[in-house]
């Protein structure tokens, strides 16, 4: 019951802050709303007993991605006059499309009978198991991911610095 209450709190936070992320006039505020959204998602993860995920959600998303985004916003701030419109011309079609899509999928979800597949579960912390998996069964993807991160790191530096040389 308590978890239900917490779920609704997080859900409302997620939805509201997400809406603000997309509609906010100031991109800077958007980034801050994004932080809140991501934080709430971490909360949802806790409700799902995924504590480790909640942790890296906060660390990586809020700690890295949002901060990076804010840096970039600051770097591009010069031309971002406040009078510029922040949304393009397809707001209404996009709104309709999103609503339709959401409604359709929700209807589908409601129509589906999940009960036969649901297995009753007991809460337990699977962080240790996760660690084992990542370094045993999934060690190759894990290492590949790390290489990917390295490539992304080098790549982003290259993109930005090559550009500098041209100037």
């Amino acid at each position: 019951m308590i978890s239900l209450i917490f779920f609704y709190i997080f859900a409302v936070l997620i939805v509201i802050s997400a809406i603000f992320v997309v509609i906010s006039k100031n991109i800077y505020y958007s980034a801050l709303w994004l932080a809140l959204t991501l934080f709430s998602v971490a909360g949802v993860f806790i409700l799902l007993n995924a504590y480790f995920l909640a942790g890296i959600q906060v660390l990586i998303y809020i700690g890295a991605v949002v901060v990076l985004t804010i840096f970039v916003i600051n770097l591009t701030k010069e031309i971002e006059g406040k009078k510029e419109k922040q949304h393009n011309k397809q707001v209404i079609p996009a709104l309709l499309a999103s609503l339709t899509g959401a409604v359709l999928i929700i209807l589908a979800v409601l129509k589906t009978d999940w009960s036969s597949r649901i297995i009753n579960w007991t809460a337990y912390d699977e962080t240790a198991k996760l660690g084992n998996f990542l370094l045993a069964d999934f060690v190759i993807p894990f290492e590949a991911a790390s290489v990917l991160l390295l490539i992304a790191l080098i790549g982003s530096i290259a993109i930005v610095s090559l550009d500098k040389e041209n100037k």
Partner: protein, 102 residues
């Protein structure tokens, strides 16, 4: 009682808010942020299905870890590209970047 339905509906709503953002934000950084919303919606979905349908396995969680990793890499690169475009053409709005047309 917290059910699978709750999480799925939440993730659907979050997903479509993200879609809406991707479709409408002019600022490229804004698009990128909306993309993050979409990723999060997926993540919620992943974890919820994993927990409700196959509680003994943790593949859903592991996939989420990888998604987060890739999403981080993606946003880094995306931001780098945005920065590069911004530097070369003083452009930040996605609808102004339309060189690749007929």
């Amino acid at each position: 009682m917290l059910t699978l339905m709750h999480f799925i509906i939440l993730s659907v709503i979050l997903f479509f808010i993200g879609i809406f953002g991707v479709l409408t934000r002019r600022n490229a950084i804004g698009i990128l942020m909306s993309l993050e919303l979409i990723f999060n919606a997926i993540n919620i979905n992943m974890v919820a299905f994993s927990k409700f349908l196959t509680p003994q396995e943790i593949y859903g969680v592991i996939f989420t870890v990888f998604i987060i990793t890739v999403a981080a890499a993606e946003s880094v690169l995306g931001l780098a590209i945005i920065l590069a475009i911004y530097r070369s053409g003083q452009k930040i709005f996605a609808d102004e970047m339309n060189l690749m047309k007929w």
